[in-house]
């Protein structure tokens, strides 16, 4: 076996965004020897990009709010495909997790009487998002990072995990490499928490950073975990579209929460034409009513600008396709004509800065141009709601790498709360599992050796394929064929394309050495991306309906049959995928009653 640097822990957390940090904190507090591993430097994970806020029914702004309303909004936003128990725990526990962040140092914006202020967001009945201007994710990651450091958790930064190790059918650890040297590292652990985030880098237009390559989704599949809802990919309605180099960078939903409105090229507020029947009863049908709603919840219904993200993204897509878009293929997002400049700069400082610096646009004077951008994976590893446990003993998960919480579409603000609610639960679950084991599971050194060989392969051989080229081709393939609007024939073309890229990926040639070599790192990530792209496409082919973050031209309506099932995808040891439909967990009657008015 190759020369591995070896470490042993009770609990190994992979990923140091909000979910991973919160999981590691919990595991450490419970007394388990805990380590956290991250691909980037500590504090740079994608959570840092979250802008608008963290959803929690604190009831600080509207006393009518409570966990039941939040639960109901979440389930309806997910088109009822959510794991009801996850959605319930999430709504019940989010307020405590927000207060805990405050205890650890987070400084949320305040109400007049000094409590945590909450802002409006899409799909939330009441103003519910605790926030710090429009840089809530930075506040959250720094707070958790400082808590983690204070607890003395071992941190392995700029270390990429490439495989999980198993002992029979249970987890035994993980292998990876230091990015700065290429040196191989082997972790032996009683439990592993996957908190690796998302997979947006598989699509061409994305809000995700280089890290979002679906590593955790792939690692889970290699280890035999069940994946659910992989067909549901959230295209956030508002990414930047111009200039080309910033295409996809996120524009917070907070712009609309704070009064911004979407317009097409003729200045029309087109969202009024896209109100789906499911939300008609609670959505304003005139501009006058929508504008009144910001100040008067009693007598006005909410603006259609704040419909759930899937609805808004489809509407923008339709406007652009109908030729009513903005000059650079998006639509206009206008807050300049609706709110005073000082208000905009105070509420949305980061958006102001971002447009000013990167696009030369002053958002207090002119509208932004925006369009959909691949943002979030609803699907992922199937986990137990209470503990974050997967079907593989010792393997836990939290955050975007898991599925179920958000159903077919996530509401804005429900991700940051998901991270801390289920990060804590997964950390607890993993710590309890580890505490119940006498010894670290046995090490199968052949698994580690196999990883070593596959990682070295791109340096050897006489292949000529460039990893950057293959990645770009995969992104274009998925953007065109498995994007916002899908059809059977397009997705079959995607599968053929993925197979072709997989074959070419065996001939990837990497130049240079093992020290901090991004080309080599991408070649390794590419394997994960191809696996995840195939799982997502196969799941999407299976779901013959349109729902949430999965819209099909050939099956444009929601189906009663598919309303009852998750699509589950598994990868066998030989690389073959199997896809099946499995019944959703049944919601208890007392929760079902919350939906009877629909």
């Amino acid at each position: 076996m190759a020369d591995f640097e070896t470490h042993e822990f009770d609990v190994l957390v992979i990923g140091a965004g909000g979910a991973g940090l919160r999981a590691a904190i919990e595991s450490a507090v419970l007394g388990q020897r805990t380590a956290i591993v991250c691909k980037s430097l500590l504090g740079k994970a994608h959570t840092v990009m979250a802008e608008g806020g963290i959803a929690a029914a604190l009831s600080n702004v509207y006393s009518e709010d409570n966990w039941r309303v939040h639960f109901r909004d979440t389930m309806r936003g997910g088109k009822m495909l959510n794991n009801w128990r996850m959605a319930q725990l999430h709504a019940q526990e989010a307020p405590d997790r927000v207060r805990e962040l405050e205890e650890w140092g987070a400084l949320f914006d305040r109400t007049e009487d000094g409590r945590i202020l909450q802002r409006d967001f899409g799909g939330h009945r009441y103003a519910r998002l605790a926030h710090v201007g429009d840089r809530t994710g930075l506040e959250m990651i720094r707070t958790l990072q400082q808590r983690l450091v204070a607890l003395g958790v071992d941190v392995f930064q700029e270390l990429t995990v490439t495989r999980l190790l198993t002992d029979g059918d249970r987890i035994a650890g993980a292998v990876g490499y230091w990015r700065d040297s290429g040196r191989l590292v082997l972790f032996r652990a009683k439990a592993v928490v996957l908190a690796t985030g998302g997979l947006g880098k598989i699509w061409a237009i994305t809000s995700n950073s280089w890290e979002g390559t679906g590593d955790g989704h792939a690692l889970a599949m290699y280890a035999g975990a069940d994946m659910i809802d992989m067909e549901f990919v959230q295209f956030h309605p508002t990414g930047m579209v111009w200039p080309p180099s910033v295409r996809g960078i996120l524009v917070t939903e907070g712009v609309r929460g704070d009064g911004g409105t979407l317009r097409n090229q003729s200045g029309e507020r087109f969202m009024f034409r896209y109100i789906p029947p499911m939300f008609a009863a609670e959505t304003a049908d005139s501009e006058e009513e929508a504008d009144r709603w910001y100040d008067d919840r009693q007598h006005a219904r909410r603006t259609p600008d704040l419909l759930p993200r899937d609805e808004v993204a489809r509407a923008i897509n339709a406007e652009v396709r109908a030729g009513r878009g903005s000059p650079h293929g998006g639509v206009f997002l206008d807050i300049a004509s609706r709110r005073p400049a000082e208000y905009i700069k105070r509420r949305l400082p980061s958006m102001y800065h971002q447009f000013k610096e990167l696009a030369g646009v002053d958002i207090t004077r002119e509208p932004m141009e925006v369009g959909p951008t691949c943002h979030y994976a609803m699907g992922g590893m199937r986990v137990d709601a209470e503990t974050g446990a997967s079907n593989v003993a010792g393997l836990y998960g939290a955050g975007e790498v898991t599925g179920g919480m958000h159903g077919s579409n996530r509401l804005g603000g429900n991700s940051l709360s998901d991270l801390v609610v289920f990060g804590r639960r997964a950390g607890m679950g993993a710590a309890q599992h580890a505490a119940g084991l006498q010894a670290v599971p046995a090490l199968d050194s052949s698994q580690a050796s196999a990883c070593d060989e596959s990682m070295e392969a791109p340096f050897r051989g006489d292949g000529k394929e460039n990893p950057y080229t293959l990645h770009r081709e995969l992104q274009d393939l998925m953007q065109v064929n498995v994007g916002i609007i899908r059809t059977d024939s397009d997705m079959r073309a995607a599968l053929a394309g993925i197979a072709g890229l997989r074959e070419r990926a065996t001939r990837v040639k990497v130049e240079g050495g093992a020290a901090y070599n991004p080309g080599w790192h991408l070649a390794i990530d590419l394997g994960h991306m191809l696996t995840v792209a195939e799982a997502a496409t196969r799941s999407a082919l299976e779901r013959k309906e349109s729902r949430g973050g999965h819209t099909r031209d050939d099956f444009p309506n929601a189906s009663g049959e598919f309303a009852k099932v998750n699509v589950v995808v598994r990868r066998a040891a030989d690389g073959a995928f199997s896809v099946s439909q499995e019944s959703l967990p049944a919601m208890p009657a007392e929760l079902q009653r919350l939906f009877e008015e629909d």
Partner: protein, 247 residues
């Protein structure tokens, strides 16, 4: 398509500048050009980045000798045809190309005191007026790009000072704790010896380069220095301490 003339540091301490020509598009930032160089000519070029929107602080480098975020420098800032020199941050050891080892900063982070808040109100809330946290929120804008650490001449020109000096980024963190309206740490914990605050002679180099516009010197460092003087160098207090035996 315009062409950028780049001079990029390649290798480690004994590396060298290598010149490249890269075509670029309207609206691109320096990091986009570096990525295009990577994808088309130098696949192993090491550069650290994440968000590409000025929010994560990963891609700091010295552009024409000035430390900047590569993702926030539009190519229009540089006259077409002139060579742009890209170097790693000077204050930290080079790992490779544009990537430096910033572990020293994480060592400083481990030495920071932890916030200790008063208990919450009976209803579970903590009440703080917005005006009392405005300053703290300014400090929390820090994206840990370490550009302020890089320009600070206390360590940039005197690496021997790194052992006893936390640097501007961590003075901001100390100030954030010291000024939290509900924190119960003593001033001894937040402004006492050990962080090297005295080395700073308020030349404001850090403030000038902060991409978040944090008033590091005026709002964090000077108030901390004042508190230090009050707490530890006020003759009356020294006498009082001697008499009471406290503090």
């Amino acid at each position: 398509m315009p062409t950028a003339h780049l001079r990029v540091w390649r290798g480690t301490d004994d590396g060298e500048y290598v010149e490249y020509e890269v075509e670029y598009d309207e609206g691109m930032v320096v990091l986009d050009v570096v990525h295009r160089l990577q994808a088309t000519q130098t696949p192993d070029l090491a550069v650290r980045w994440n968000c590409k929107a000025g929010k994560c602080g990963s891609c700091s480098a010295e552009i024409n000798g000035k430390p900047r975020l590569q993702c926030m420098q539009r190519m229009e800032l540089y006259p077409e045809g002139e060579t742009i020199t890209l170097a790693p941050l000077k204050t930290f050891p080079i790992i490779r190309d544009l990537v430096t080892n910033v572990a020293w900063n994480y060592d400083q982070a481990r030495a920071m005191p932890e916030l200790r808040l008063r208990p919450a109100d009976a209803d579970g809330n903590r009440r703080m007026a917005q005006i009392d946290i405005d300053r703290g929120q300014e400090f929390h804008k820090c994206i840990e790009c370490y550009i302020c650490q890089d320009v600070c001449h206390v360590i940039r020109d005197h690496p021997e000072n790194m052992a006893g000096f936390a640097g501007p980024r961590f003075f901001v963190q100390l100030a954030s704790i010291a000024m939290h309206p509900l924190d119960t740490n003593t001033r001894r914990a937040t402004v006492d010896h050990g962080f090297g605050l005295d080395y700073c002679n308020i030349t404001k180099c850090c403030t000038d380069v902060c991409p978040e516009g944090i008033h590091i010197t005026d709002n964090a460092i000077i108030p901390l220095k004042e508190r230090r003087v009050d707490e530890f160098h006020d003759p009356l207090r020294i006498i009082a301490r001697k008499l009471t035996g406290r503090g």
